[in-house]
Symmetry: C2
Subunit: 312 residues, 2 copies
């Protein structure tokens, strides 16, 4: 079995999996640069953690490919390339691998915004001690828009901070105290913070628009760690510039904002550079996931997190 992995850490893990299973794996490292000569032979392909076209275009030449394992939770970027992959290839996403890092950044953005860190940083640069009462996260109602695995990871952290989560998913699940998006008109006016963790698709594009934002109370904080396209940027900028709302965005539309974009200088806005998943928490969790998937494959068991590919 020929395996491609993106760096030496994953290669060491693959070797360990092979030894434990008494199997033999041929392991090549492909980091998105010059591809190994074994393109026609690779069966299990861990795609480098980037959105590069080259690493996806190679699939058309991978005649032996059985499993294509992404390191991203999103997979929209890979779908257009699957039409040229061999029949029966399984595309797997990295479900759960980014939860810890992304939930951590969501809390970091909330806490930094509420407790005044951006103002303190600017105060420090001006040698100013900007003391004063600040909002705490404790006692706040936080609406989690998207109650999947990242939403649940955010909730666990919110509870430790004595904040009150409001769970919202596509469909209500009253037994789990999850509200449906049809209930948003009643819920938005209650929220002190809204944190966006839904995937981007045609139903969610610009879902957080002027009408959505208008229903939030004055002083509410909007946090986006999902995709920039879910928020109507112009509508948000208008609410920030009026001083009515606050925001913290890890993702923007356009991303990154061009140098003269109003997002850079909007008041009450904290920007981070799409760093939700880009932390030290990623690698150990990605390696554990790939070890598990490879062990399943070597043992002839079904791999997990297979995503649906609609072929033309």
């Amino acid at each position: 079995v020929r395996v491609w992995v993106p760096d030496q850490n994953f290669a060491d893990d693959a070797q360990a999996v092979a030894e434990r299973a008494g199997a033999v794996l041929e392991i090549d490292v492909y980091d998105g640069g010059a591809p190994p000569l074994s393109v026609p032979d690779v069966e299990f392909y861990v795609v480098p953690y980037s959105f590069s076209r080259a690493s996806l275009e190679l699939v058309a030449q991978m005649k032996s490919l059985r499993v294509m394992q992404l390191l991203t939770a999103g997979y929209e970027h890979a779908l257009p390339f699957m039409a040229s992959a061999p029949d029966g290839v399984q595309l797997c996403n990295a479900h759960g691998v980014h939860d810890t890092s992304t939930a951590e950044l969501a809390l970091t953005l909330m806490l930094a915004s509420l407790r005044g860190i951006p103002d303190y940083v600017r105060g420090q640069d001006a040698h100013e001690w900007r003391a004063g009462l600040r909002p705490a996260l404790a006692d706040k109602r936080v609406l989690i828009l998207g109650y999947g695995s990242i939403g649940k990871a955010i909730e666990r952290r919110l509870l430790a901070f004595e904040a009150e989560p409001i769970r919202v998913a596509n469909r209500a699940r009253p037994a789990d105290d999850v509200h449906g998006i049809d209930e948003l008109p009643a819920l938005l006016p209650l929220a002190d913070v809204v944190v966006i963790v839904v995937p981007l698709n045609e139903a969610t594009r610009k879902f957080v628009n002027a009408d959505f934002l208008r229903q939030l109370k004055g002083g509410a904080l909007v946090v986006n760690v999902a995709r920039g396209g879910i928020v109507d940027t112009d509508a948000l900028v208008a609410e920030l510039e009026s001083g009515r709302l606050h925001a913290a965005l890890d993702v923007t539309d356009p991303e990154p904002p061009p140098p003269d974009h109003p997002l850079w200088s909007a008041p009450n806005l904290l920007l981070s550079p799409h760093s939700g998943g880009n932390s030290s928490a990623f690698l150990p969790r990605a390696r554990a996931m790939v070890r598990d998937q490879l062990a399943r494959y070597v043992a002839g068991e079904p791999v997990e997190n297979v995503v649906r590919i609609d072929r033309p």
Copy 2:
């Protein structure tokens, strides 16, 4: 029974306590400005939330005083005034009231420092998207120096972030997995983060000195939400300027730093202006504590959090 409270919120609460107990309270609001005429009659005094001398000097004239309730956890500032208080006065601190707000700020400082928020804020001001891998709090070993009520509140939050606490108190309590300070030489080299939550006294003054800091590994983060005097500022500045350590300080020595002090421009340092307790989390918890203490007093039960007063 004559009661002094620092604002109308506390006055409303006191009235509600009286009604529930079927008692009659005479309630005056004293916020640290001009004192009410009832000085000789006040029995239960909730001292305004400040360190003003005037509010403490009044004690000498409070001939009926039985309970002096502070809104701070520290009480060193009040002790010098107790010699002139009537015999048998009980001085009570606000044990636990600040835990939520202070633990929240400790986590805010850790998360903001690790995930790069100060750099992002400066990037935003420069219209720069400073993407890159950052340390996460997840998987980090966090040494909690001072395992009291704030230390425990910090620990609860750390566990939600998948970090690993190392508990250190004055004396080891092996049954609770609490290490003694004599074990620090073995523990400091393991810590990714040290968070300081010990009280300031003669044993802790400059406890975090050059020798303590030298034992930390390179890249470690020092967080102080206790008192500035616990850290040897010069020794810390030297470690910051060499680039070996990072720090986030809510308290400094001197505090605030004078305009030309090296703390303002030390690299890898996040400063916040002694805002640990100064958040919206304070008032509801302070009110709940005073309601409880007043209800005990009215019912003839012992009040809580009585601190020891050593009289000359």
